[in-house]
């Protein structure tokens, strides 16, 4: 694909380009975080931030100006609504070349993990995934990222003219102001995807686990899947998501996509409530980036208490119903 002659794009020095991800017609919250992060980087570099959206959404893209984007490029081909990193990275390579973007920001979500590495290799542009803070630009361009499954951080220097950053979900606050973005449609010829989608199943929970600000998680201490009602109730009252430990997923008490930990998924909510989970090092690796950890366990020696901010030593079957009552009272729910 060569650059379209009908694209009238004014190149901006050092422009920051943010990949705007969406699912089912809705822009992902993690992309609003990425956009806010990209806008702040643009401010640091004394330049502007623009967005690129592949596919179609139901919301008005001009509203992304509220988060500080000056322009949103859109390639509104229906086929791009479906994740195919090969097609996506080809279009993005073309857009980066045409706009002269020097910093490209993704959310390090499931789409970002598929597309950003491809774009990095295609542009020979340095990539850091799992970023947790703004870049240090005083000497060079250095980004802090999580390593060793959240047990440490690395400061990574990006050593190429074009730089790509994938920011971890829930690591940068969405900053909302006012403004309107100019929406610039781009026409790109898209080849047929080599990936044929034969089935899709939506996540059942109301709040996707990786995006949830509050997560209520249960372990073996809950004794069986029939006891998950109170976990779900507490999560629902707190507008949170439910999760579980590895033995619970392995025993098929809960679906595998709820398993958080070293070999499951890693999450970083504002509040993680662990109920009946002892806190093995492998479990901690998946949740140690949570801002506040609450542990409820009847064993006072449970290792999880060492990583917790708040704790209750006691029987979950007595405590959780009381917590539910207290939350209902707080929220004025009958």
């Amino acid at each position: 694909m060569g650059q379209r002659s009908n694209w009238k794009i004014k190149k901006i020095n050092h422009m920051v380009l943010v990949f705007i991800d969406h699912a089912e017609g809705q822009i992902k919250k993690s992309s609003l975080e990425a956009l806010s992060y990209g806008v702040k980087i643009a401010e640091l570099l004394n330049t502007e931030a623009e967005g690129i959206l592949l596919g179609t959404v139901t919301s008005n893209l001009a509203d992304l100006g509220k988060y500080g984007a000056k322009k949103i490029y859109q390639v509104s081909s229906e086929s791009l609504n479906h994740l195919d990193s090969q097609a996506d990275a080809k279009v993005l390579t073309e857009v980066v070349n045409a706009t002269g973007a020097k910093v490209i920001v993704f959310s390090n979500n499931l789409s970002g993990k598929a597309i950003a590495p491809r774009l990095s290799a295609s542009l020979r542009a340095a990539l850091v995934t799992g970023a947790v803070a703004l870049p240090e630009t005083t000497s060079g361009f250095v980004v802090k990222k999580t390593v060793f499954s959240g047990k440490a951080f690395a400061h990574v220097s990006l050593n190429t003219p074009i730089k790509i950053i994938s920011i971890n979900p829930n690591s940068y606050q969405v900053v909302e102001g006012s403004g309107t973005a100019e929406v610039v449609p781009l026409n790109v010829e898209i080849k047929d995807s080599k990936i044929k989608v034969s089935g899709v199943s939506k996540t059942s929970g109301e709040v996707p686990l990786t995006e949830a600000e509050i997560v209520v998680s249960g372990g073996r201490g809950l004794k069986g899947p029939e006891n998950w009602g109170m976990i779900e109730d507490l999560a629902r009252l707190l507008h949170g998501a439910t999760a579980c430990s590895r033995p619970v997923a392995d025993a098929h008490w809960r679906p595998h996509n709820e398993h958080v930990g070293q070999t499951g998924i890693a999450i970083a909510p504002n509040l993680y409530i662990a109920i009946g989970i002892s806190g093995a090092i492998q479990h901690l690796a998946g949740v140690n980036r949570s801002k506040v950890i609450v542990v409820i366990n009847k064993d006072p020696e449970a290792p999880f208490f060492k990583a917790a901010d708040y704790g209750i030593v006691g029987d979950a079957f007595e405590i959780v119903p009381k917590l539910i009552e207290a939350v209902k009272k707080l929220k004025g729910v009958a």
């Binding site: 991800d21 699912a23 994740l83 195919d84 090969q86 990275a89 499931l110 789409s111 993990k113 598929a114 597309i115 590495p117 990095s120 290799a121 020979r124 990539l127 995934t129 250095v142 802090k144 390593v147 060793f148 047990k151 440490a152 951080f153 690395a154 400061h155 990574v156 050593n159 990936i195 044929k196 034969s198 899709v200 199943s201 595998h256 996509n257 070293q262 070999t263 509040l271 090092i281 492998q282 690796a285 801002k291 609450v294 542990v295 208490f305 917790a308 901010d309 708040y310 704790g311 209750i312 030593v313 006691g314 029987d315 007595e318 405590i319 009381k322 917590l323 207290a326 939350v327 707080l330």
Partner: protein
Amino acid sequence: MKILICISKTPDTTAKIAFKDNNTKFAADGVQWIINPYDEWYALVRAIEIKEKDSTAILHLICVGAADADPIIRKALALGGDEAIRVNADSHDSFYIAAQIAEIAKLGGYDLIFTGKETIDYNGSSVGGMLAALLDLPFISLASKFELDNITATVTRQIEGGEETDEVKLPIVVSCQKGVAEQRIPNMKGIMSARSKPLKVVEPVVIEPLTSIVSFELPPAKAGVRLVSADHPEELIRLLHEEAKLI
């Protein structure tokens, strides 16, 4: 059917994480090294299962690393790889690793390339995607189920908002996570035969890494847990509301 499985050497999941030389290097003294669990439990075991159904399948392992990676490569051979290639180089960054593997893959005529979804040390989750880009192949990220029918793969993968099942023709690159297969333990026959399986060492091609690590940092220690009496759980809700301001 020729399958290339990319494996990495990582510290054991319970290893103490510490740094030395002014926080510029991982303190590896006394650390147990393992095959990155995603590479072993999911990518490698799934490949072994494919070979168990189709004995003509050939499984090649590739690892970019120094000679100290040989023990984990031997373990992977004991589990069931046919032969291994080690690119004799430090694994500078994801792009360097992907580019080295791409050089081997270009000549190998592989139908299928498996990686783990990420390594548990640098958590880059990048080599698979980069490799697919360098080889211009379709990339299925974060697969949780993988079936093969001749040259068509049916793969379930995680996408934003749920799961998707895809059909895609080989050759492809797939990054594997939980669900694709189950962890196995090598048996004595495997361990014995691994000693005589070929482990070819090749020198790296010249590739400039795109990134470098300036320093490491440990997270600040937690202040300590604040315990609430089990007789008054409502106090926890009050603290989360008034003090932590989270609910």
